[in-house]
Amino acid sequence: MAAAKEILLRRPVAATIRLTVPAGGARPAPPVGPALGQYRLNLMAFCKDFNARTQKYKPDTPMAVTITAFKDNSFEFTVKSPSVSWYVKKAAGVDKGSTRPGHLTVTTLSVRHVYEIAKVKQTDPFCQYMPLESICKSIIGTANSMGIKIVQDLE
């Protein structure tokens, strides 16, 4: 473990925080407040920075943010587009997935939806070099785990 820490020797990391924040809508209230406040991170600096960098997204789109908090109370963060399950739920028009995925299907989506979601996800920093087909398979997997079936065409 000590060796791993030496690799990150720029600054020692205190914690990694993940949260969902609406694009352009970060405010120092819960959940941002307590989550960052615990590690003494400058809330207003994060809010201003995050809001400025998410101006190009439709307001209130829930963005997935990963914050690396360093021991000296400084921080860095990366912003990703909403999670696949958010897109899937929005496409299907449901709030929550199934309570018994695999057994109970809440709703269905068409292959075309999967393709549209994959195209958006491909713009994420992570997925840029992944073939569209792999992204689609991963989306189908997530949808199935939420109890949402993918069909060829919606009747």
Binding site: M1, T16, R18, A52, K56, T99, T107
Partner: protein
């Protein structure tokens, strides 16, 4: 941007067809929540009074002091990443992992042989969320065989508010210009000291954009100007302008908390009401349009330190308040966003100059017009 276009055009034609299915799922959720509470405990530790300075209490608004649930979950190390993502999908507001290995394992009910393979996640949930349901759904979705052990506590809202205020230290913007928190005495009493309690409004002087705007103001204000601070936040720029010698300042913001903070700060700096006017601008949602009781072409210096989108949308509006020949400063924008802003404002501004600190820029120029003000 691809993502934005995609979201706008997403058809929700499935909505009506699946309403029936959705309602039939609901009863299941309620059923499972009534299981015996043997596997988790809720200890509510609400802190009622605040031991911190009394001034902090006048800024505790309902939304900031909202209760939340703080949940500690013991998660197997090898599934940390997918499990964190799954938690966020199924209802958690945030998920945090400490880098230090927790030595203190008295909370873990499992035997110590497993302790080294588990990691502790601190998660925040909205107060009405079904924590057990979310955790079990998250665990199922990544194929965990059993639900991780967890403990729920009521979040201590005063704790993070106090920690946040403690961060604010005196800041030296330039030689003999300091921003000092209300609860600290100025390090250099002879300097121009602006006393602030920003509450939850933006503007402590620490952010690069605030610094850029303060430096711009310092170079522009010679004495007797009328200044407009569009997006005033804590009021820091409006107050600074008066301290530099402006005749009057007006601060506008869409957030009522900002107006409250700014008027509190005006009092802290002994600024009479005639010198600093504050107006609450209607936000985009109100239908009455942007009517503020301000006259056009009234100000010698106008600064708008907001964000890219408002600055673009309100360009005509902001410029209309400036006299011809007045200086307008725009900030709160990143250097990559500058070309758009420049394009938007160049029909109206000449002598455009850019100041940069890090990724942030401040663009300033003088308003084109027939009568150039020579003072």
């Amino acid at each position: 941007m691809l993502a934005r276009n995609f979201i706008k055009h997403f058809p929700c034609k499935n909505l009506s067809r699946h309403h029936i299915l959705r309602d039939s799922v609901r009863p299941l959720i309620f059923f499972t929540s009534s299981t015996p509470q043997s596997s988790f405990s809720i200890s509510a530790s609400l802190s009622t009074s605040s031991s911190s300075s009394s001034s902090s209490s006048c800024f505790t608004d309902e939304s900031f002091a909202a209760p939340y649930l703080s949940v500690r979950i013991n998660c197997p190390k090898h599934v940390l990443d997918p499990f964190s993502d799954a938690l966020l999908c199924f209802g958690a507001s945030s998920v945090a992992v400490d880098e230090d290995i927790e030595e203190d394992n008295e909370d873990a009910a499992s035997g110590s042989s497993l302790a080294s393979k588990e990691i502790c996640i601190e998660s925040i949930f909205p107060v009405h969320e079904e924590v057990k349901m979310c955790i079990s759904q998250a665990a199922n979705s990544i194929g965990l065989k059993e639900i991780p052990k967890f403990k729920v506590e009521m979040g201590d809202e005063q704790d993070w508010i106090t920690k946040n205020q403690d961060l604010f230290q005196p800041v030296e913007i330039a030689d003999r210009l300091w921003i000092v928190p209300e609860w600290t005495s100025p390090p250099v009493p002879e300097a121009v000291n602006i006393i602030l309690n920003p509450g939850f409004a933006f503007g402590t002087g620490e952010h690069p954009t605030t610094k850029l705007c303060l430096l711009l103001l310092q170079s522009l204000i010679k004495g007797g100007e009328a200044f407009l601070d569009y997006g005033t936040g804590s009021g820091i720029l409006a107050i600074a302008a008066l301290k530099f010698g402006a005749a009057s300042s007006v601060g506008v913001d869409i957030d009522p908390l900002a107006i409250k903070s700014a008027s509190h700060n005006a009092a802290l700096n002994n600024i009479p009401l005639e010198k600093l006017e504050l107006h609450l601008a209607p936000s985009e949602n109100s239908s009455s349009g942007r009517e503020t009781p301000l006259q056009k072409e009234q100000f010698d210096v106008v600064i708008a330190n907001i964000l890219l989108n408002p600055v673009m949308e309100l360009a005509d509006h902001i410029i209309s308040f400036a006299k011809p020949g007045a200086t307008i400063g725009i900030s709160g924008i990143l250097s990559e966003q500058l070309p758009n802003v420049k394009e938007r404002y160049s029909p109206f501004l000449e002598n455009i100059s850019i100041a940069t600190i890090g990724d942030w820029v401040c663009m300033s120029g003088t308003k084109k017009g027939e009568f150039i003000d020579n003072c």
